[in-house]
Amino acid sequence: MASLLLKDVAKSYGKVEVLKNIDLDIKTGELIVFVGPSGCGKSTLLRMIAGLESITGGEFQIDGERMNEVPPSKRGIAMVFQSYALYPHMTVYDNMSFALKIAKMPKDEIDQRVQKAANILQLGEYLERLPKALSGGQRQRVAIGRSIVRDPKVYLFDEPLSNLDAALRVDTRIEIAQLKEDMPNSTMIYVTHDQVEAMTLATRIVVLNNITHTIGQVGTPLELYEKPRNTFVAQFIGSPKMNLLSAKIVSGGPSTTIKLDHGEQVTLPIDSGDASPGDTVSFGIRPEDFVVAQEGDPVIYSGEALFSEKLGEVTVVYLKPAAPGEPSIIAKIPGIAHVKKGDALNLTGVIDKMHLFNAAGDSFLYQ
């Protein structure tokens, strides 16, 4: 039951900037996911919120109170670590009750809280075991239980599923989602490098850019997918990543006509804003938005198949351009498409699912 506010937060080690201009407003009950490629500072940002890393610029508030100098234990947060960080010399019970004992809570209440958390997480029969006698998934649950008993204002998860195998990861992901549903008023922040985790769990996603060390975009999972703010987010969300083709504006207005490098003109229902004819733009189209062109359709890309992967529900085709100078692209064609190496393909796309970015990489949607 807490809201968090980050105002122009920055982090640097000496002269090396890892994060800057971080503005974020997190409301009570949200589950915010930080994603980004490795080195983007997502874990660092989480650790700054936890107080494990100092904040070198800007201000961080919880419930309107400045937290920059408050030690981790006084921030009302609980953290689940990537390696779980269970105390190896303590039983599950002691692990879960450690923070409460430190806080000098009465014994009855400690017991009550631990039992309650153990019930939620089905850990009842393991309470007297040492962590080394538990499986990976059980350890993970103990780590979560250790947070729950403290009844924190904010839960922090640092890549909690990355040490689990693929099958267990899906199960645990669902458990976390259910946990969140059971505690609608708790605020959670979750760090991951896995898009699927981000898309499935988050109420809002924060994409961090590893080149500019800033926030790429904040939004609901679908917003990020449908209306990426810039080419970085556009290419980070979605797999395989969005194709970008270069083009020139022919005419502007509420809808924009562009001319692709190979000469085809396409009119998109996107406001051209202050861009003027002749400007170079990036034209973005997701692999799954390509359609094999029929007679009369505008040909967005014409190329030669290099390689195809038949996945059953979809066929992924890697194409090299017919006209020199254009990039190679990836297209996803629904169903099983019999494409051989060397086949020529003309592709068109769903007009209202295309994206347009200016030379700086920013989307026309947000101008």
């Binding site: 030690p71 953290m79 105390y87 190896p88 923070a99 430190i102 403290r150």
Partner: protein, 410 residues
């Protein structure tokens, strides 16, 4: 022959001989005894491979057997015979004679005192140094300097500390640090605080700590918790008795301390003050062994997963709670190893006592007592008997080490 030339020849003969032995014995095995050609080639190769390990092992096993295993048996035999009577079997006569000597009991009690004090203080200081230097920019330099005494011989250390303890007549300048400091105390309030109140408080804390340890080991009996198997019960009993004894002793020392008339203003011959001189000797070994403890414990501290410490901080533990409740329990195994290793050193301590007091003024220890018997009194029977006593004291550690090593190999 010049010893240096002799040494060179020994190196060549020793090293060359070893290599030649290994090479030719392997050749002999493969070419002559079990040739890997002809109709029995396959069987010969597997036979040769069964013999080969023993070729590799033989010199080492021979040396180990002759220089360490055989002496254990032989010393046991010698301790039961009388040299003067031409090696006749005399049963436990040597032991009886030894047990009747007050010097032996003095050595034994002193050894126990050493066993309590030196490992405890070395490990404690080592742990302190390891923790303090852990995240320090100049930590490696600090560690290097604290570790340095490891390279100094016990004899060298004895000289170093005799220079600290040296006393000069009253009217001359004191050149030993300890006496120079001692003479600063004049019996005023400063002296009272530094020499009575402060040590008294430290002793009191120590007494409380011992009592607490004793309480912790028996707590499960009152609360009906698990008390472990027979081995653990015995362990608890030892700690209970030891803890209570130490608590009692230190409380009594506090009383003695406040009652004592300290000879202010007189230079002291520190090494001749009975009972306390033992501690002045122990300081030397603590000084040497702390570096060892620090190095091992420092590596262990580094091995603790960083995230458990961060988790504890998030959980609200202060630096002391992090240290005692998170870090120390996680390196308990290493602490035990350090403790037992230093215990072994203590049991064999000889040079320090030999060089500093030679067992006079009630500072005798077993190893020096034994040396005395062997080479001064020429009494090999009693000397061997005392060596067997040292062996007996070592054997629990020996068994424990073998047990853990075997467990680890599985």
């Amino acid at each position: 022959m010049n010893p240096a030339v002799q040494g060179l020849i020994t190196i060549i003969v020793g090293v060359g001989g070893c290599v030649a032995y290994f090479y030719f014995s392997n050749q002999f095995l493969d070419k002559v005894i079990f040739p890997s050609t002809g109709k029995n080639a396959g069987r010969n190769i597997s036979r040769a491979n069964m013999v080969r390990p023993w070729l590799f092992l033989f010199p080492a096993m021979f040396a180990l057997g002759l220089y360490l295993a055989y002496p254990v048996v032989e010393t046991l035999r010698l301790s039961l015979t009388d040299r003067d009577a031409g090696g006749a079997f005399v049963g436990l006569a040597n032991y009886n004679q030894m047990f009747s000597e007050p010097k032996f009991w003095e050595a034994l009690t002193n050894n126990f005192l050493w066993l309590l004090v030196v490992p405890a203080f070395s490990t404690a200081f080592g742990l302190l140094a390891a923790q303090l230097t852990d995240r320090l920019a100049w930590g490696n330099i600090a560690k290097s300097l604290i570790f340095m005494p490891m390279a100094i011989s016990f004899v060298g250390a004895a000289v170093i500390f005799r220079l600290i303890y040296v006393a000069r007549p009253d009217d001359q300048a004191q050149i030993g640090v300890l006496n120079a400091v001692w003479l600063q105390f004049d019996g005023g309030s400063g002296s009272f605080i530094m020499l009575k109140l402060l040590p008294g408080l430290i002793l009191l804390c120590f007494a409380l700590l011992c009592a607490y340890v004793a309480y912790v080991v028996v707590k499960p009996y009152f609360e009906g918790g698990k008390t472990g198997g027979l081995f653990m019960q015995l362990f608890r009993l030892i700690f209970l008795v030891g803890g209570l004894f130490l608590a009692f002793t230190s409380l009594r020392s506090v009383l003695n301390l406040f009652g004592a008339e300290l000879p202010y203003g007189e230079p002291q011959q520190w090494l001749t003050i009975p009972f306390f001189n033992n501690f002045f000797l122990m300081i030397v070994l603590v000084w040497i062994q702390t570096g060892f403890a620090m190095v091992i414990l420092s590596a262990a501290l580094r091995g603790i997963p960083e995230e458990t410490i961060e988790a504890a901080i998030v959980d609200g533990a202060n630096p002391f709670e992090v240290f005692f409740k998170i870090k120390v329990p996680q390196i308990m195994g290493t602490i035990v190893v350090v403790w037992t290793t230093i215990t072994l050193v203590v049991l064999k301590v000889f040079d320090i006592v030999f060089a500093m007091t030679n067992g006079q003024w009630e500072t005798q220890v077993l190893a020096n007592y034994m040396f005395d018997k062997l080479f001064r009194a020429n009494d090999w029977g009693v000397g061997s008997a005392s060596a067997i006593i040292i062996m007996l004291l070592v054997s629990p550690i020996l068994i424990w080490n073998v047990y853990t090593a075997r467990k680890e190999m599985r």
